[in-house]
Assembly symmetry: C3
Homo-oligomer: 161 residues x 3
Amino acid sequence: MAEEQNNTTMVVFSGDLDKAIASFIIANGAAAMGDKVTMFFTFWGLNILRKENVQTPKKKAFMEKMFGKMMPQGPDKLGLSKMNMGGMGAKMMKKVMKEKNISTLPELMEMAKGLGVNIVACTMSMDVLGIDKDELIDGIDYGGVATYLGEAYDAKVNLFI
Amino acid sequence: MAEEQNNTTMVVFSGDLDKAIASFIIANGAAAMGDKVTMFFTFWGLNILRKENVQTPKKKAFMEKMFGKMMPQGPDKLGLSKMNMGGMGAKMMKKVMKEKNISTLPELMEMAKGLGVNIVACTMSMDVLGIDKDELIDGIDYGGVATYLGEAYDAKVNLFI
Amino acid sequence: MAEEQNNTTMVVFSGDLDKAIASFIIANGAAAMGDKVTMFFTFWGLNILRKENVQTPKKKAFMEKMFGKMMPQGPDKLGLSKMNMGGMGAKMMKKVMKEKNISTLPELMEMAKGLGVNIVACTMSMDVLGIDKDELIDGIDYGGVATYLGEAYDAKVNLFI
């Protein structure tokens, strides 16, 4: 029964490295305990799912191209929500985490896939930001607010990050 | 019975255009599915509810005047949480959304009212920021943390945005 | 029974003064109504729990020292998430709150302790940011994501701030 499960959902709105790490640590922790986890990536959060330097066949409008160029392409390009200092903060944090043997964001994302975390890209945000399916990582789902709410109503823990 | 319903609450703390849009899309989606939705606007979130260029009869202290002048007045004046570039980012996003026939924030807010979404302004934050009832849009409620918690305990989905 | 209680949890990720105040107002409101409240402080949120100018016996690596120096030490040093203006915004808000007899953040934190709010520092974030137990306020607990999830699954209201 759905009521018996400790389902978890997250709206990942932010595209900051630190918040992305936090969201995947929570997601993987919950999934490792056997729970169903759905992460719904919207707005800047979509940048976490972008592939690096991908060329899409889609013909983009001027503003879509501009958004595309200016937004970070994938987990290695994200900045911190605080103390980013033009990217130096993000580099420092990645270095420290490596030294302390803490998983990097790409590793956490791989883990999430392995644990069956359901990764959903928000199609409306993709449309607004001009992001094509070809530009996002493989093995993810696509949906809108109804998809999200359907999962959230079955979940015990719902976070907006 | 309260337990049977999929009530939703949101603390809308942020006054960013992108986060405001996201919160109303979720609110309207939930309300359209027949759920009771309460949005509790606090701190910078109050700016979403401000009328433009309104004169309040209330005599304001120096700092209240300053906060009032510096904070955005209503949905058309909000900036983005990222890539705002002095307002250019917000303009770009509004232009793109219009081109793609996605509802604007003022339209989403009208829809929310029509769907019966309960909009509550946090009275303590109004006091801190020196915002008077005359300065906020009509048809909303006022309350404090107890109002919020009362709704949140009956809800299945509670978000802080 | 756990199901009968209106437990509340918060992940306090942000170290901004305004968000810290909001989180403690919600926590204290819920605790005053007799509910069990757990606040899980992670990443920048740890700065809220730091003592001022404390010397730790721990020998720190270069980057730990740098993070330690650059991050705000305790509630009096935090900035606002918006309109901070190099600290002036935070000063203004504290002044206004004092004039209106609203509790300051240190007072809210004392109240939380008195009401039995469970304050947990995230050990993984402490490790990443190089923060030692000696540097955090007394009377708090320590834990990881499993601690958080254990509380969240028993709670009705779960927020990420």
